[in-house]
């Protein structure tokens, strides 16, 4: 099958014609690059040959065999950048016309020694540009080092035209073409992208060995779905911070490309753009709608159960509960807000979502109002972080975006599902322990196993669950007088002492008051078929166990002095079976080490799951 390649195609491209869409033949394909996959093609127009780099979004064509050695292709979109005294072609889009063909014509092939000769030049250039770059990024983020380009034959990186360099540089003054974000790479000569800001980070100040600095980043999404983060430092921040607005479309050019910082940057792009004083950012006021507002890749909640701790993902679900904000003290001494809410989707699972900081007051508040007025809004989460502290849950990070009832097909689908069967469909939470045999976190033991297996003896406390009943409660002291004053959102609860006859005094709050609070401090014995042991229970567990408040019991015993009724209540609470979650830790009491057991939670036995759990245990009995 004879086909004619476009005559002089190579020469035409090299002289700047990027619209001809010529037919050329691929003579060779080589995989280049150690950190990232790049393909270098050798193209021929039957007479001349030239190397061309394949844009990474086309890598699949080579991998799937659609483009191979001998393929005749039509170059649909391509650019040619002059660098030093060579021309580098980058193919952005092409069509395979004939997958397999004998070599057409008599192309003069490139000699390999050319490439070898490039190497030292390349390395020299590298050092040069690195030094130059360092001078201009005065306060780099700590740990952001000089590029190490893989030592392979690649077109030398052309530094941004501003910088004086040794040797002649052919300046390309043609206006930069808009290319897809996915095609961006440091070997590009000039480039421009047109994209929408999908996230705008906060302005952050930092302090490191080199001094003070500030930085901010924003994320871009273009019409092909490509995403990339853009970062500005110091003076560049001042130039662009106010100009960049979330949701608007900009044309950006003359930035530099460096490997993405995977710790902070969770976008699917190996590169990140760094803007400089000479970068250009132009607002594109006419919305052409071809660029989506945001890109998600939602995972069903059931898949999150197997997600890796600390991984970043998107999820969408119906909010079924919202808890109030609580202040949390962080490790650095700063206080922040935290809110927990639950999301449910069609996968039969629900998950806890933890909102931190501003999310609590903004979206968290709005969601709470919606739930309180009986609604169940759909919430989309972009870039939530998986946490495996208790089951699997998701938390917000600074890069997270929350969208309430977004206009997305997934949201509409969820809405229809929930309003139909979803609302009453049962779902299991992946964030809390499941009673059946316990989740990975819950260990079920008997009372005798606590001593026999030596729980509580290591540096950290042990947590076990025991099915048992209270067999005895110490009643001479079952509660203490507590300070009722509020510190922030929480009650002080320190033990108060009598001051004078009728008043109480708290040493922490430094105040006196008439009425104190009463809080449980129970010493009780729990018992199962293997044995009994002493435990301590505080307020919440105490209320579960006794079924009434400490104050009520206190009044009954000491004010009304009704021993009969008091005794009656206590007796009625004995021998009720519960699932006790226990914290076990050995502590020093005087000279000896004693194992201290605290009841952290009291749960009613769920008979259906407990029945299944026991059947499972029976099946594991050793056979005679």
């Amino acid at each position: 099958m004879a086909v004619n390649l476009t005559p002089n195609a190579i020469a035409a491209i090299e002289s700047g014609d990027v619209n001809a869409k010529p037919l050329v033949q691929v003579l060779d394909i080589k995989l280049i690059g150690s950190t990232q996959e790049r393909y270098r093609l050798l193209l021929s127009d039957a007479v001349s040959t030239q190397h061309a780099m394949l844009a990474t979004q086309l890598n699949d064509r080579v991998k799937s065999g659609r483009v191979r050695k001998g393929s005749v292709v039509q170059l649909v979109e391509y650019i040619c950048s002059p660098v030093q005294n060579r021309k580098i072609i980058v193919v952005l889009n092409m069509e395979t016309i004939i997958p397999d063909c004998e070599i057409i014509g008599n192309p003069k092939s490139l000699v390999e020694s050319d490439s070898a000769a490039q190497k030292p030049l390349f390395n020299g250039n590298l050092v040069q540009s690195a030094r130059v770059s360092n001078n201009n990024f005065s306060a780099q983020k700590p740990g952001h080092n000089v590029q190490n380009f893989p030592p392979t034959v690649q077109p030398p990186y052309k530094p941004p035209p501003n910088y004086k360099n040794h040797g002649p540089i052919l300046k390309n003054d043609a206006p930069a073409r808009i290319i897809p974000i996915a095609a961006l790479n440091p070997y590009q000569g000039r480039w421009a992208i047109k994209a929408r800001v999908t996230a705008k980070g906060d302005l952050r100040r930092y302090n490191n060995a080199r001094g003070d600095g500030k930085v901010f980043s924003f994320d871009l999404l273009d019409s092909d779905g490509g995403e990339i983060r853009v970062t500005c430092f110091n003076a560049v921040v001042d130039r662009f911070y106010d100009a960049i607005e979330l949701g608007k479309v900009y044309m950006i050019s003359k930035g530099s490309l460096k490997p993405a910082q995977k710790n902070y940057n969770h976008l699917k792009n190996e590169w990140e753009i760094f803007l400089e004083a000479t970068s250009m950012v132009e607002l594109c006021p006419d919305e052409d709608g071809s660029i989506p507002r945001q890109q998600f890749s939602f995972r069903p909640i059931s898949e999150i159960e197997n997600a890796e701790n600390n991984s970043i993902l998107d999820v969408i679900g119906v909010v079924i509960s919202v808890n109030p904000s609580v202040p949390i003290l962080r490790k650095n001494g700063m206080e922040t807000q935290r809110r927990i809410l639950n999301l449910k989707d069609g996968s039969g699972r629900s998950v806890e979502l933890t909102l931190w900081g501003e999310f609590c007051n903004r979206e968290g508040q709005k969601l709470e109002e919606m739930i309180n007025s009986g609604g169940f809004p759909v919430l989309a989460v972009k870039s939530g972080k998986v946490n495996d502290f208790s089951g699997k849950s998701i938390g917000t990070i600074s890069a997270t975006q929350l969208l309430i009832n977004p206009d997305l097909p997934e949201a509409h689908g969820l809405r229809n599902w929930f309003d139909g069967v979803g609302k009453s469909a049962s779902s299991v939470s992946i964030s809390r322990e499941i009673i059946l045999g316990g989740s990975k976190n819950e260990i079920r033991k008997t009372v005798s196993q606590i001593k026999d297996e030596g729980f509580g003896r290591s540096d950290k406390p042990d947590w076990v669950t025991v099915k048992a009943a209270i067999s005895f409660i110490k009643t001479d002291t079952f509660c203490y007088t507590a300070c009722p004053l509020m510190i922030g959102d929480r009650q002080c609860n320190k033990k108060v002492t009598r001051s004078g006859n009728a008043r109480w005094q708290c040493d922490r709050c430094n105040q006196e008051f008439e009425e104190c609070d009463y809080r449980y401090l129970l010493q009780a014995q729990i018992q199962d078929h293997t044995g009994l042991t002493w435990v301590t229970a505080f307020q919440e567990s105490g209320e579960e166990i006794l079924g009434c408040s400490a104050k009520e019991l206190y009044s009954l015993k000491y004010e009304d002095q009704d021993d009969d009724r008091f005794g009656g209540i206590i007796r009625s609470r004995l021998f009720i079976q519960y699932l006790f979650r226990l914290k076990i830790k050995e502590e020093m009491y005087g000279d000896e080490q004693r194992v201290k057991i605290t009841v952290v939670k009291v749960d009613n036995v769920n008979y259906s799951s407990e029945g299944r759990y026991m059947l499972d245990l029976i099946s594991k009995f050793p056979r005679q």
Partner: protein, 106 residues
């Protein structure tokens, strides 16, 4: 506690083996007409229960009585077990109580 006349835990499959004996079974009430209640056993078969319950029946009922046929029980005691019941767990109990752990049950 009167242990003179223990009732065997049965489902439909086990009922056949204890004709003439005192048995107990949990059934899901399907139909009730004229002195006979048709119930679904915990192993998804049908059991007929003869007798008149003294009060309205809930969805799940335990009957204790004499097995008077391969598929029927003459009930003496009816106990309402409510509208939710773990039939699978009960069925496993019947199998364990008549199999491996028969010696623990009279």
């Amino acid at each position: 506690m009167d242990t003179s006349n223990p009732a065997v835990f049965v489902n439909a499959e086990l009922l056949r083996l204890y004709v003439g004996r005192r048995v107990r079974a949990v059934i899901q009430v399907l139909r009730s007409d004229g002195g006979v209640v048709t119930g679904k056993s915990t192993d998804d078969n049908q059991i007929l229960v003869k007798g008149s319950p003294t009060s309205p029946l809930s969805k799940f009922v335990e009957v204790v009585g004499i097995a008077d046929g391969e598929k029927s029980i003459h009930a003496e005691i009816w106990t309402n077990f409510g509208d939710t019941f773990e039939t699978h767990t009960y069925n496993q109990l019947c199998q364990l109580a008549n199999g491996e752990f028969k010696h623990m049950f009279l």
